[in-house]
């Protein structure tokens, strides 16, 4: 009964969401990829007469404006322009640099950081940012009474998880303000990507006296920030107006005076607004918009540290056999799916760690490029593997059910895969769709053979994309485990020798490629449009749009 009701509801929703898709055409795009530009190029000359104002659209109002409670991607975009923490992602969008912190010291165990705060770091009301502010904020995130969804981001701190689960007291948590400008942080284990983690909104400070005011995030008067912008006007569901924060540590470098964030829900309307010059930066792109602007200098596509993939249920026949899993993964054409179905310029995935993550040794190179492809597509080889597994030409293979979310693009991809497997392996695959809110329960129930899945990491280290396949995390989706894989990852949590770490990651990836418990499809990229006179808009590796370095020519 429950399931039926969900289906009815999903059908209703699908009908109402027809509006979103009704003007998108289905013809295939055949344009060449634009390549990966990181940000709009910097300006050389400046005309002071131009108003330094950018209007940027988000699909909806941010859900959460308190960084200590935030887990939402959309809210993070707004918060990343309003707040800064100890570290921030630099102008290249790739690596962390000091922000409110000046420097840090790491002890020999690799678990104890001592941060020195910059003495000039101020709140937007002019008061200094103190180490106590950080201690208060981090403990707020973990406080079980606050019940913040973001708590797990701070489980790296010593006793962070224990405190959140009421097994330790707040005083035992590994964060301590030694004095006004010294913050001592103790971690559970050495975390070589801790500085990157500090750029996640959950690590940003909020001030106690502000937070204690009822509804502090709802009015510009009570909303204190530490970043390049302050909130100056808040019109629910309509727009948020951000102004330059004169008290920001690097205020002299911020050129933009006004950032207006308007809320346009339908991507067709957003494209109309962009072409009509009502907004200057747009990142909710339709395939049409992509086709129209793909080859113009207004179009940017930036790798995000995430990937779309398909889970194979390794606990059920026929995917309990690695040969079958490999056969399925090798028998498809990723390039074709990306070009004609997804209609994007993204890259096919032949590995498990996406682009956007620098190599630990050759820091100016992508990890992905250094590690290389982990497997290839090969229909003949796939057929052979399937025959070896006991299903020559797909004969005798049990019924296979593939589940996907009820979005148009997911359904299209599923159908393309279905026909590729039919054609190349002679296997029939049934497709079942579920509404997004019940989809993950369906995966957990395990009644599938193949399931569409996806993941975007939080920090640019391969760990963020590989730890989801560890035994502890994979028990309710791919249902696969490999002791050597777990060991490699575990070792990488404890050591800081980057050469060894990269070697371990490559080994771990190789295990995934040999065992193929999941089938990588494409590495995500974020596309956006910026008017030719708008420069310096930055998309970081998680897909957040940052305006700190932007200006209008």
């Amino acid at each position: 009964m429950k399931k039926k009701m969900g289906l009815v509801l999903a059908a209703l929703l699908a009908i109402t969401s027809v509006t979103a898709g009704c003007s998108s055409s289905s013809s295939s795009g055949t344009t060449a990829p634009q390549g990966q530009q990181q940000a709009a190029p910097q300006a050389t000359a400046e005309k002071p007469a131009v108003e330094q104002k950018i209007i940027y659209a988000l699909s909806k109002e941010p859900e959460e404006m308190d960084p200590t409670l935030n887990v939402y991607a959309r809210s993070s975009i707004v918060l990343q322009n309003l707040f800064r923490g100890l570290y921030k992602i630099d102008e290249s969008g790739k690596k962390p640099v000091p922000s409110l912190a000046e420097s840090y010291e790491l002890d020999s165990t690799g678990t104890k950081y001592t941060f020195k705060l910059n003495k000039n770091a101020k709140w937007s009301d002019g008061k200094p940012v103190t180490a106590q502010d950080f201690e208060y904020s981090w403990k707020r995130v973990l406080n079980p009474d606050v019940a913040s969804g973001a708590a797990f981001y701070l489980y790296y701190l010593k006793n962070g998880k224990a405190y959140n689960e009421k097994k330790a007291s707040a005083d035992e948590v590994g964060v301590k303000a030694v004095d006004e400008s010294t913050l001592e942080v103790t971690l559970e284990s050495p975390t070589p990507y801790f500085l990157e983690l500090l750029c996640v909104t959950a690590y940003y400070p909020v001030r106690k006296d502000a937070v204690e005011k009822e509804g502090w995030t709802k009015s510009p008067e009570t909303y204190l920030t530490t970043g390049p912008f302050v909130l100056s006007e808040l019109k629910p569901k309509e727009k948020y107006v951000l102004k330059k924060n004169p008290n920001y540590l690097e205020a002299d470098k911020v050129k933009l005076d006004t950032l207006e964030i308007v809320f346009i829900e339908s991507s067709e309307a957003e494209l109309a607004a962009y072409t009509n010059d009502e907004i200057q930066v747009s990142d909710n792109m339709t395939p049409e918009g992509m086709k129209r602007f793909e080859n113009t200098p207004e179009f940017f596509s930036v790798p995000r540290i995430g990937m779309q993939y398909f889970d194979f249920n390794a606990s059920k026949k026929p995917f309990d056999d690695a040969k079958v899993r490999k056969a399925f993964s090798m028998a498809i054409n990723r390039e074709q799916i990306i070009k004609s179905i997804v209609q994007s310029v993204e890259k096919p995935a032949f590995g498990f760690v996406p682009y956007g993550i620098p190599d630990g040794v050759q820091k100016d190179k992508e990890y992905r490029d250094v590690a290389g492809n982990m497997f290839t597509e090969n229909v003949d080889e796939a057929k052979k593997l399937l025959a070896e597994a006991g299903y020559p030409d797909g004969q005798g293979i049990p019924e296979i059910t593939m589940i996907v979310m009820a979005s148009q693009s997911d359904k299209d991809i599923a159908q393309a895969l279905q026909s590729m497997w039919k054609q190349n392996l002679g296997v029939n695959v049934n497709i079942e769709t579920f509404e997004s809110k019940v989809y993950w329960d369906e995966i957990e129930n395990g009644s599938f053979n193949i399931a569409s899945d996806g993941w975007t990491g939080d920090y640019p280290d391969p760990m963020t994309n590989l730890d989801i396949f560890e035994s502890v995390n994979a028990s309710d989706d791919i249902r696969w485990s490999n002791p050597e894989y777990d060991r490699l990852l575990d070792e990488n949590r404890k050591i800081s020798d980057q050469a060894k770490r990269m070697e371990n990651y490559a080994k771990a990836e190789k295990i995934l490629a040999d065992e193929m418990p999941l089938m990588p499809l494409r590495f995500y990229e974020d596309q956006f449009l910026a008017k030719p006179n708008v420069k310096g808009v930055l998309k970081n590796y998680i897909g957040h749009t940052i305006f700190e370095y932007a200006h209008v020519e």
Binding site: M1, K2, K3, M5, G6, L9, L13, T16, V18, T19, C22, S23, A57, K60, E61, E63, E64, D66, L69, V71, P144, A147, S148, G149, A151, F152, N164, E165, G215, T217, K218, K235, P236, K237, E238, K239, V262, F263, I264, E265, S266, E268, A269, L271, A272, A273, T275, N276, E278, E435, S436, K437, V438, W440, D441, G454, W455, T456
Partner: protein, 308 residues
């Protein structure tokens, strides 16, 4: 009359109670909750459970139901699960005036244009004005409004660059949403008006008026219109309720900060308090507007007697 009002009042309360009860249990019967992941899984289960606990979702359903009835009796519709720190009362008091304003303009325009088209059609029956207005009306009825709005967006914003695409910051911003909302009702009213006008014009008293030498425009606007308008009044009740509380499609496409969108996004987000709050609000609204229409009936048409 007073007895009738009292009777209607108690019937309304009963209706609302049934509405709340059905919505409450139906909504909880739908799988997935406000904190279930939607796009990607991110938040660990233990953290999710803690959030559910915070909003009282771990209580037995019966307890949640009684708690909800208690708070609604005090006029408190609860707090949104999805938008932190926003109460449903706030959501409605912010969004409803916006939706109502656009809807009201659309109703007025639909009434004026629709009635004029219908009257013209009726008195020029079989001639080209009749054909023309009926073609317009047929198009209006057969093309769904999401197609119409997207078409208008494309034509007037993207191609002609005449009108703005989002928000309501100037009078120009109202043109497309109002047109999108009014188009269907115009068509419906025009057809309704035409047929009822034709029927009334055949009545004996119109013949009498004409025989007495009353000028034609007075025959139409004074004698015929008064009776021909009654079906329109019937249609007005649901129309007012539908347009004033906002349209999901029009509000979504033109990014209007009304409450129409919340109905649907509330359901897909499983934002229980928003779903219930808006249902209650819409329920009350429909009951009141139907009630007003019933009263209006009696005023316009003396033949209708409200039963005591």
């Amino acid at each position: 009359m007073a007895g009738y009002i009292v009777k209607r009042f108690f019937a309304s309360i009963l209706t609302m109670f049934v509405l709340i009860t059905i919505t409450f249990f139906l909504m909880h019967a739908v799988p997935g909750g406000p904190f279930s992941p939607a796009e990607e899984r991110k938040v660990p289960k233990s953290v999710m459970e803690k959030m559910e606990e915070k909003f009282g979702l771990n209580e037995p359903l019966g307890v949640q139901y009684v708690n909800y009835l208690k708070s609604i009796a005090q006029g408190d519709l609860g707090i949104s699960f999805k938008q932190s720190d926003v109460t449903v009362n706030e959501l409605i008091s912010r969004g409803f005036p916006v939706s109502a304003k656009v809807g009201l303009i659309a109703i007025v325009i639909a009434l004026i244009v629709g009635m004029l088209l219908g009257i013209t059609s009726a008195i020029k029956r079989g001639k080209w004005p009749d054909w023309l207005s009926m073609i317009v009306a047929t198009i209006g009825i057969s093309i769904p409004n999401f197609v119409m709005t997207v078409l208008m967006l494309f034509l007037f914003v993207v191609v002609m660059k005449l009108l703005p695409s989002y928000g309501l910051s100037s009078w120009k911003h109202y043109i497309l949403p109002v047109a999108g909302l009014a188009f269907g009702p115009i068509a419906y009213i025009a057809r309704l008006m035409r047929s009822s006008m034709l029927e009334v014009m055949r009545q004996d008293y119109i013949l009498t008026a004409r025989a007495k030498g009353v000028p034609e425009y007075r025959v139409i606007f004074k004698h015929a219109l008064k009776n021909a308008i009654i079906p329109i009044v019937t249609y007005l009740g649901p129309l007012v309720a539908a347009l004033l509380t906002g349209s999901f499609i029009v509000e979504r496409i033109f990014s209007i900060p009304g409450i129409g969108r919340d109905f649907v996004s509330g359901i897909s987000d499983r934002d229980y308090s928003v779903i219930l709050g808006l249902t209650v609000f819409l329920g009350i609204f429909i009951i009141i507007s139907n009630f007003i229409v019933d009263i209006l009936y009696a005023i316009i048409d003396k033949r209708v007697k409200i039963e005591e």
